[in-house]
Symmetry: C2
Subunit: 212 residues, 2 copies
Amino acid sequence: MTSDGRVARGDRTRRAVLDTAVALATEVGLDGLSLGQLADRLEVSKSGLFAHWRSKEALQLATVDRAVAQWQERIIEPALRAPRGVRRLQALHEARIDFYAARVLPGGCFFANTEFEYNARPGPIRDRLAEAFQRWTAFLERLVQEAVDLGELPADLDVAQLAYEIDAFGISAVMRSRLLDPDTTYRHARLGLLNRLRALSPNPTLLTEGPS
Amino acid sequence: MTSDGRVARGDRTRRAVLDTAVALATEVGLDGLSLGQLADRLEVSKSGLFAHWRSKEALQLATVDRAVAQWQERIIEPALRAPRGVRRLQALHEARIDFYAARVLPGGCFFANTEFEYNARPGPIRDRLAEAFQRWTAFLERLVQEAVDLGELPADLDVAQLAYEIDAFGISAVMRSRLLDPDTTYRHARLGLLNRLRALSPNPTLLTEGPS
DNA sequence: AATTAATACGACCGGTCGGTCTTATTTTGG
DNA sequence: CCAAAATAAGACCGACCGGTCGTATTAATT
């Protein structure tokens, strides 16, 4: 790294390593991730990885952080370009399903896979995952609250409840898409939110049928 | 095994092994399941396991089957004691959440964990999981259809859509319960279905608030 | 009671894992 | 142009993995 503000060459390679690690961990698990295989795929030596991260766990934690950044870039930021309210909520849900449907990560969803992998393993990795999930939940609830504040959803709405249901539809989408017909699965995930918002919204014309 | 119909002693030990395997695999993953650790926990030798199953994969497949049987005994059969219709649907959902809340398996849900673990790994294990999940989905849809046939749900209801949402609430429950407050999570999972059924049912008095 | 059949055991095999260390190569600064 | 410092490489370590095999113990049969 350079001492001034420029992005050092090492930071680029560092991010390339972590992108590969995210993709690989999504397929074989964050625990099943082998440093030897990761090094092979990157065409570097295994000891080179230890020069950047002092242990496998350190690299795993950095991998979680990189996955958070990818989620931000690929799903949250596009959704924030939609106008506030139910349309932004719908845009977020659609962006997430599109992300799954596009098979950006061949292994499905890094967070879904990893959270189920570590839900019975206390430790730094699960703590980091829990932290990320809490932020995601808070973000979802904030978007629902905005729609309420705009009068697009009822004032007495149970905000956390709707946020729970939205996330549930997303989680189920990525799981079922591997076991049942993907198109049917994604349609259920989309319709789940659409029907719910239409039932709640005093102005259903805001909501579009197709992907945003 | 005996040649006649009696249950041999070996079948009992076989089931005991598989029960332990289900519990262990739910914690560390069906792939991460170590035959050495399993043998240690059972206080038998590792080679003894290979006398009953010719390979690790054979034992993993038997473990999936045993988990299916546990799900049948613990969740489906109790729910079938409730009267047909929306009350049976609700009973099934409650039994599932109770099963999670009781921490019967310390690792959470065998199927949720394992399906996310194998969703990017084609092979016999994923095939077996997919088969089990298809039967589960068909069963859920059958129960919804029964409620429609009884007139307790609208005749034009999208049966598969409601089944999708019910399962989504269950999946999310077991995942979030490890990362956020469990009681809040279970309440969201219960209310998700309850609100949905109340909005759909022409006879909401059938539905009870508390656990069945 | 003696022989046979079945069973359970633990040492052992090749391979892969995370991690270390010594060596060779490249880059940098004067 | 050379010395010094940083970097990458690959051999190597102990631990654990799935799986095998010869042996000792138990159970069943006559």
